[in-house]
């Protein structure tokens, strides 16, 4: 099996080989054409499970108002109740419906994952690609230094400090803080990748045809890194979801939004364990783990795209 990500044309004798356009969407695909990106992902059992699970979470988040039995902030129920017909998973100490909070909590996690992952990936791309392309120059030295600094600073203490100082704690701020503190690893990986791509023939050809540096980096080289970028996006999104939960658990979340992290914080702060309200305590953490595991599984599939060696076994 040949790779699809790095050699768009494929081997000449393989007539079935299809082209993959820069966005990574195959023009045509069926089971006979295993090179298309989604059939590669789909061919892995783990990745399939991951894609389906993440898909379900997305549906739940989008249709939360239809799925949730109640308003998550409505505190008119009898507090401290176990599961019942009206409150499927019981109520909190404030008389809120746990099931509805879980459903709405999906939204915060996915939004933080989507935008946190997106911003972190863009920063990583810009820093990594410029630094790698300019390897050996002062620009590379500066960017590499900044990347290395960002890499060694422990992320959670830094995020906590940054968020603790701000007076408003909206989801936007949390996304932003998480993104600007967690791009370094991915930037380093992209720098390494671009160094291997930089001296390929098609780049040399582009240089001789007089294209500008930015154009070469982002138009010629970047499309060859699609699977790496996708992998780092999923990785960054996963990290962002975990970081949001960690912040919320310490009471630094957005208190106007119900998230799984704020649920954990509330249940712990109000002594849910001592009162035996274990669904309230354990369901949010379990959902977080399931979502993050599913995203790791998706990443297994993305890894298959960039590393054909993994596909063989």
């Amino acid at each position: 099996m040949t790779t699809s990500g790095f050699t768009p044309a494929g081997a000449p004798d393989q007539a079935k080989n299809i082209e993959v356009d820069p966005e990574g969407t195959a023009k045509e695909a069926s089971t006979e054409r295993p090179e298309s990106w989604y059939s590669v992902i789909w061919s892995s059992k783990k990745a399939r499970v991951g894609v389906i699970t993440v898909g379900i979470f997305i549906l739940v988040a989008v249709f939360a108002p239809l799925i949730a039995p109640h308003d998550p902030t409505d505190s008119s129920f009898t507090p401290l109740m176990g599961p019942s017909g009206t409150n499927w998973l019981g109520t909190t100490t404030n008389g809120q419906d746990v099931a509805s909070q879980l459903v709405y909590g999906t939204r915060v996690s996915l939004i933080v994952g989507l935008f946190g992952g997106l911003i972190a990936t863009v920063i990583a791309l810009v820093v990594g690609m410029i630094s790698g392309y300019a390897e050996g120059t002062w620009l590379d030295d500066v960017l590499t230094f900044v990347t290395n600094v960002a890499l060694v600073i422990p992320v959670l203490p830094l995020i906590i400090t940054l968020v603790a100082y701000s007076s408003t704690r909206g989801v936007t701020l949390i996304i932003f803080v998480i993104a600007i503190t967690s791009w370094a690893g991915a930037a380093r990986a992209k720098r390494a990748q671009i160094i291997t791509l930089r001296n390929r023939d098609f780049v040399t050809a582009a240089k001789f045809s007089g294209e500008g540096t930015l154009r070469i980096v982002f138009r010629e080289i970047m499309p060859n890194m699609t699977s790496l970028v996708a992998a780092s996006f999923v990785g960054a999104a996963t990290g962002a979801i975990g970081a949001e939960a960690g912040l919320a658990v310490l009471g630094l979340g957005d208190n106007n939004q119900v998230s799984w992290g704020t649920m954990l914080y509330q249940s712990n702060a109000q002594g849910a364990i001592a009162q035996g309200l274990f669904i309230w305590v354990f369901a949010p953490g379990l959902l977080l783990a399931i979502l993050i595991t599913a995203m790791c599984f998706v990443n297994f599939g993305v890894d298959l795209l960039s590393n054909p060696h993994l596909r063989e076994d």
């Binding site: 400090t161 603790a164 595991t293």
Partner: protein
């Protein structure tokens, strides 16, 4: 030699960057800590008295003047080990408060980190050696899932089962009535309090080692020197341990130091759940009480700790693997 000098240079530059960042973070935000403190003491809706604010500012040593003069003043204070006064534990100095919590975290983190490193590396090496076996897939899949669990959540789960339901361990704190000291009663007491937090950390931390070790080991197993060793007819055990594992271990040395940063994050959450009297709980308190001097110092201290660990790992790596000294440009 150049390798070592460059690593030391990077350490010093990074340290400077971190100190400066720590100086800038509070100043990037609007609001005045002295005002906040007066507000807190006077009650939410009370009118702010300017004299009070000024007095508070003098008492807390909160900075004034131009950014440059503040910066020099700040650097001077740091050089003298003066980190200010904690708002939460007023009138104690931040350094005293941290000195109290430091040992709890240090012992907890050191023990769990070393244990999980050993366990993780051994599991990872074995999984790589038996690649694609059942053991391998159980270890890889299992650690992927366990690695996604929130440390805080694991802590709550352990609390629920072993402290509240079974009553085997205390539910919170670092020790009960007995006064701290080196006697058997207190050590037993402290260990029984530390056990569950340690288990919570132990569940999450080996994961990185398992997967990292497995990957490097698999890469090494494909190298020519392994093929040569096998062709020479060396016993499997020798090839696996003396050849592959030994070389695969090297990248983990630097990984070990980098992972400290992540571990601290986990420790903060675990300590908060158990109300364990270490630095993590202090950080939680500092956040809740807007105790900025304490928060800033904790941030600086943890970061510096990770930087030093990193420097040591880098230097050690340079000694252990001569290729590293040459490979970098």
């Amino acid at each position: 030699m150049k390798y070592f000098l460059r690593k030391i240079g990077f350490f010093l530059l990074t340290l400077w960057a971190v100190v400066t960042l720590n100086f800038l973070i509070p100043r990037l935000q609007p609001g005045d800590p002295a005002e906040l403190m007066v507000q807190k003491l006077a009650g939410k809706n009370a009118q702010l008295n300017l004299a009070q604010v000024r007095a508070m500012r003098a008492m807390l040593g909160t900075p004034h003047g131009s950014l440059w003069s503040q910066y020099w003043e700040y650097m001077g204070h740091l050089a003298h080990g003066d980190f200010g006064i904690s708002y939460t534990y007023f009138p104690y100095k931040v350094t005293d408060v941290i000195g109290q919590g430091l040992w709890w975290t240090l012992v907890l983190v050191a023990c769990t980190q070393i244990l999980s490193f050993v366990i993780g590396v051994m599991l990872g090496a074995y999984a790589a050696w038996r690649r694609n076996s059942r053991f391998d897939s159980i270890v890889t899949l299992g650690s992927t899932f366990v690695g996604t669990l929130q440390p805080f959540w694991i802590a709550l789960l352990l609390l629920y089962v072993f402290a509240y339901s079974l009553g085997w361990f205390p539910t919170s704190g670092g020790y009960s009535q007995s006064t701290p000291g080196w006697n058997l009663g207190f050590v037993y007491d402290a260990v029984s309090h530390a056990f569950l937090p340690a288990v919570a950390l132990m569940i999450v931390t080996p994961i990185g080692w398992i997967l990292g070790m497995r990957n490097t080991m698999i890469m090494n197993l494909g190298e020519d020197y392994i093929r040569l060793a096998k062709a020479k007819g060396l016993p499997d055990r020798t090839v696996a341990l003396r050849y592959a594992a030994r070389n695969a271990l090297l990248p983990s040395v630097t990984g070990f130091a980098l992972a400290l940063g992540g571990l601290l994050g986990g420790a903060i959450l675990v300590e908060t759940a158990f109300d364990y009297p270490g630095l993590g709980r202090l950080m939680g308190e500092a956040v809740a009480n807007k105790d900025y001097p304490l928060l800033q110092t904790l941030m600086l201290l943890t970061t510096t700790g990770v930087l030093i660990a990193n420097l040591i790992a880098d230097l050690l790596y340079g000694v252990l693997d001569p290729r590293a000294r040459r490979a970098e440009r």
